[in-house]
Symmetry: C2
Subunit: 455 residues, 2 copies
Amino acid sequence: MSKPSLARGTRDFGPEIMVKRTFIFDQIKTVFQKFGFLPIETPSIENLSVLMGKYGEEGDQLLFKILNSGDFIKDVQPDDLQKGPKAVLPKVAEKGLRYDLTVPFARFVVMNRNEIQLPFKRYQIQPVWRADRPQKGRYREFYQCDADVVGTDSLLCEAEIVLMLHEVFEKLNIREFVIKVNNRKILSGIAEVIGAAGRESELCVAIDKLDKIGKEKVEEELLQRGFAADSIGLLQPVFSLGQTGDDLFDVLKTWLSASEEGMKGVEELQAIWKLVGLYGLHSPKIEFDPTLARGLSYYTGAIFEVKALNVQMGSISGGGRYDNLTGTFGMPGVSGVGISLGVDRIFDVMEELKLFPEQARQANTKVMITNFDEECRNHALPVLTRLRAEGINAEIYPEVSKLKKQFDYANKKNIPYVLVIGPEEMEKQSYSLKNMVTGEQSQGSVEQLTAILHV
Amino acid sequence: MSKPSLARGTRDFGPEIMVKRTFIFDQIKTVFQKFGFLPIETPSIENLSVLMGKYGEEGDQLLFKILNSGDFIKDVQPDDLQKGPKAVLPKVAEKGLRYDLTVPFARFVVMNRNEIQLPFKRYQIQPVWRADRPQKGRYREFYQCDADVVGTDSLLCEAEIVLMLHEVFEKLNIREFVIKVNNRKILSGIAEVIGAAGRESELCVAIDKLDKIGKEKVEEELLQRGFAADSIGLLQPVFSLGQTGDDLFDVLKTWLSASEEGMKGVEELQAIWKLVGLYGLHSPKIEFDPTLARGLSYYTGAIFEVKALNVQMGSISGGGRYDNLTGTFGMPGVSGVGISLGVDRIFDVMEELKLFPEQARQANTKVMITNFDEECRNHALPVLTRLRAEGINAEIYPEVSKLKKQFDYANKKNIPYVLVIGPEEMEKQSYSLKNMVTGEQSQGSVEQLTAILHV
């Protein structure tokens, strides 16, 4: 006999939370599908050869590895132990757990290149696993919701991501949010005009921390990384951009005029702004943020991040364009753009701001029938069958026991109606329906009560 | 650059298969909910202390274990290597992947005993992992769909399982199936009356193989297991039961009259038959099968198994009653009964018998708008927005390219309608909608064409 526990950083989801999470997933799926994205799923288990080296050194360490089956130590020699875990790992594990949905998607595209039609729009909603240190809001097993288009560099895709985000958050009742947008090419242009051409990756890593550590520390870090003081001086507009009343695109075009790449980035940004308007979205909640880099070096064009307002919470969505997602698997030149929604954080935002609608706060069972005694029960069973045939989620209390206990059960399970079928009701074939929220009682035939239950 | 591959025994699901699988899951969920079951989810990763020892020795071996993070070999001594994998395992792995949904559910019930209301009806649809040798129809990662009621021994639950199975398969268009029913107490009674009281587990294991190895081999195995020849002689009715015209329950009652336990089993069986009728299910597809044991020693009452007819396939569903599911976690006396649906096999049955309805064979996108040139595109974008606002899944081809290529795309993606917006259509504000299945063309305003798309 063991006292059971959850593995660290993992969670159970009981019915109440499941109903709310399902509500979120359903809204997201509906919107993704409305925009023409189709679902795929990839296995939780991938070969380590697919996963390793794709997420940087830290990612390699955070990958959960699966021990080989059978005699997993047969190839391990005593002196391997002294060489350390890196030497032993390839001998004891060849599989790992999915770390994100992007790399498995790239593998999927490459392996199915002859079956799928480009441009390929897919969405994917599945858990991922990371051996991170668990903390508030950070779990070792959590869901990602990704939508990507690959095989086209049309900026319509970027505009549709902006539209899609608006529609998702509207459906989720999250009205106060901002979509921050940047462009990797603008970052490249900035690197160029400050005299640090080609070093935008390092620049990104440092600037990305602006929110967390402030301007001074960012400058310090840049100095440490070997950026010249002059370069850092030329970087100043990045810290004030968007805070002045000037037209952003004009300011950028002036600043970056010497960089072809940078100018292209500004044009792309401007095109997205224009397209969003052409689609008919007025006062879009988008904001250019030149400090947005998301630490991810594989973005090559637009970069997105969504913050919910009025609540302390990291970004609830992020994404961007990448030009060479599948190159690592031998299929170069496939450009794509995608967005990932953080369901756990969205859930927390909705809980904190009390945004879940009634339908996501009710259990799925609509009515419980009481169980008086065998005779009443036998009379109740066909009634139950009729309710279900009407599409009403219904159950009968499985045992003959005190009515109070049965009502308590319905109450605890948030069942909104209880149908009482006792000896009297049975005789009259007129049953008593109690609304558990208002306390209201209705009397009538199955047809009459069904009408109430259908409301 | 690596050539990517799938881990052995795992699968990708592309959009077409996903749409079909989602259809199956949705039907099952709808029925489960209609019967008052609520969803829960448990983590994929569980502590090995929760999983080990629950599935027998073979199960322990088939569990996927997860390598500890960081320096996983720090506690391994060179002489541990000589002791073999069993000595090393506890030092390098403390977590594993979910092997079924039953043990995690038992853990959930015990850990949430103060929050949940008994009787507790839950359903759970999640993947499980087994390091089995992959073969046709057997995967290392596959979904289970379970519904269980715990905390009551009411036979209404057994009857509802029978009803639920009928409704699930009806919704899935699988009309030809049989639900085989047995009862562990009948097996105990049989053991008793053949003079092998208490040995029903061994009897189960042998009899369970009747379908696979035949009567003679079963008898051989029983001899080897030390059953007396006399006992085996007395066992004969088991092989002919149900093949005679006599009333089954009468035959059983006569045969097992000396066994109190056996008689109780027959009564339970008879009660389930009666209840199913009281619910209003006429000609239920249920069949008593005294050789059904499902090899699982934890069943204590009813045992269920469903076979699809007209197709070569193992059972597509199975389950039964267990009296001590949570005892292993220190919470004795919780009786439960449940059913598990094998989605992969159900999928294969439906494919083979061509049972998927049209809605499960269509992609989710309803209409694609063509992309002629920038001007036409700009005119098309608000049209696209209007279609989506009407709840129509719609997309625009993202690039300006040859119409043939655009139609090919729609065709390949099974999009049933293409809306052509060229210069002429733009000018007249009258667009051309092509039905990709019939080839039919309609001309009209957005309102007029929306009406067609809504059908």
